[in-house]
């Protein structure tokens, strides 16, 4: 009887332990890693991520984080392999991300378009945001970089119109008019470009890029005084309190540098 009681008590104890063992919600795991105050890419961060992946091997967020850390440090083979895993686990989120990384870090525009086509299919709509921009903005840029300006413009137009018609004009992205204006400038539609830059200035008054490209558009239509005023403004903003479209990681298509502005000003005089 005593033996039976001991077995019963022990069994009850272990069942109780099993029942109180904390469970991990893998949906929150990437956010938990954020909570550790991470310094991405450090040896400690990698150790923690790998341990968490042992517990939650199907966490797309963890694979995605690991991918980004490798890609931004130039470890492309590993990074894109991890990103593929994230895409498998959460295509609706990571297909767009992968397209974005393909354009920025590989200049693989055809691959990005393929990912975005797949994303549209999976999402059942084109009104999907990829890194804060309508997916057609990214897709349009991919076509532009491949030299198909007409297709790029078509996509930019749809992106802007779709955001206005379905959500309202305040939903047009921070750089959408700038991107379309720059494309129109490159296509030789200077008046169309200026109209877009006017809209961009209204929503982002201190953006260097808009004044630079509007200055070039004015110069191309022989409106020298307006060109000079805009280019001077671009220079002032660049050297002062302005901002430019910029990422610390890689150079963007059509990114503006102070040297570009100064050369454009010299051409005017």
């Amino acid at each position: 009887m005593k033996l039976f009681s001991t077995i019963l008590l022990s069994t009850t104890f272990f069942v109780a332990i099993a029942q109180t063992k904390p469970t991990v919600d893998c949906r929150d795991i990437s956010a938990m890693l954020d909570g550790l105050g991470r310094v991405e890419g450090t040896a400690r961060w990698i150790r923690v991520t790998d341990s968490l992946l042992n517990v939650c091997p199907n966490s797309a967020g963890l694979w995605g984080d690991k991918a980004v850390v490798h890609i931004v440090r130039g470890q492309y083979k590993e990074g894109f392999k991890y990103l593929e895993k994230a895409v498998e686990l959460n295509p609706i989120y990571y297909l767009g991300y992968r397209a974005w990384y393909r354009t920025r870090y590989l200049h693989d525009y055809a691959g990005a378009i393929k990912d975005l086509d797949q994303l549209e299919k999976v999402a059942g709509s084109s009104l999907v945001y990829v890194v804060n921009a309508h997916m057609y903005l990214l897709k349009g840029t991919a076509y532009k970089e491949m030299g198909d300006h007409k297709k790029a413009l078509e996509l930019y137009n749809t992106a802007i119109e779709e955001q206005i018609s379905s959500k309202g004009p305040e939903w047009v992205g921070l750089y959408d008019y700038l991107l379309r204006g720059t494309l129109k400038y490159q296509m030789g539609d200077y008046d169309g470009a200026i109209a877009d830059f006017d809209l961009e200035v209204k929503q982002y008054e201190t953006l260097v890029d808009t004044y630079y490209y509007r200055g070039l558009s004015y110069a191309a239509t022989s409106r020298k005084d307006e060109a000079r005023a805009d280019l001077e403004r671009a220079k002032e903003l660049m050297l002062g309190q302005g901002q430019k479209r910029w990422e610390g990681y890689v150079t963007l298509p059509d990114e503006v540098f102070l040297t570009n502005i100064e050369k454009a000003l010299l051409r005017l005089y």
């Binding site: 890419g41 450090t42 040896a43 990698i46 850390v69 490798h70 931004v72 440090r73 130039g74 470890q75 492309y76 083979k77 894109f80 392999k81 870090y105 590989l106 200049h107 693989d108 660049m238 901002q243 430019k244 910029w246 610390g248 990681y249 890689v250 150079t251 990114e255 540098f257 102070l258 040297t259």
Partner: protein, 146 residues
């Protein structure tokens, strides 16, 4: 200082006596940053690098069948000296591959000839890792990603 002991973060490059300059010194081997942590909007290094590579790269007939991506990674110390150059070569599908030795050497020579800027962090100059990529199409530099 056993520098290799610190080669543990993603992308760290440890000293290789077969290829690296033994006189090259990091100012703070335990605190080597990444370029993206140190860049500012005023940084014009991409323009310099683009110009240097496009003027110095001299294509050869024997490279006409070469296609793929080359990543050049290295470390720049707080005095603006660069060393520990590493090349990674891939197909456009990111499969491993090897370019011809003469092409690899040419790319390395160009990378080494560039005056990489000394960068600052926390009011002092800092050591940092840097990289750039070349898309090689038919033996020519089609694109520079940096």
């Amino acid at each position: 200082m056993n520098v290799a002991a610190f080669a543990q973060n993603v992308g760290d490059i440890s000293f290789d006596p077969k290829t690296d300059d033994p006189n090259f010194k990091l100012c703070n081997p335990e605190w080597v940053l990444q370029t993206y942590m140190l860049k500012s909007i005023a940084d014009e290094t991409p323009l310099l690098v683009d110009r240097e590579i496009r003027t110095k790269f001299t294509p050869r007939d024997e490279w006409k069948t070469e296609n793929g991506i080359v990543t050049v990674r290295f470390v720049v110390n707080c005095n603006g000296q660069a060393d520990r150059f590493r090349l990674t070569e891939m197909t456009f599908e990111l499969e491993e591959k090897k370019f011809q030795e003469s092409l690899r050497t040419h790319i390395l020579e160009i990378a080494k000839s560039i005056q990489w800027p000394a960068r600052r962090a926390r009011q002092q100059t800092a050591d940092y890792y840097h990289y750039f990529n070349l898309r090689i199409v038919d033996g020519q530099v089609k694109d520079i990603i940096q």
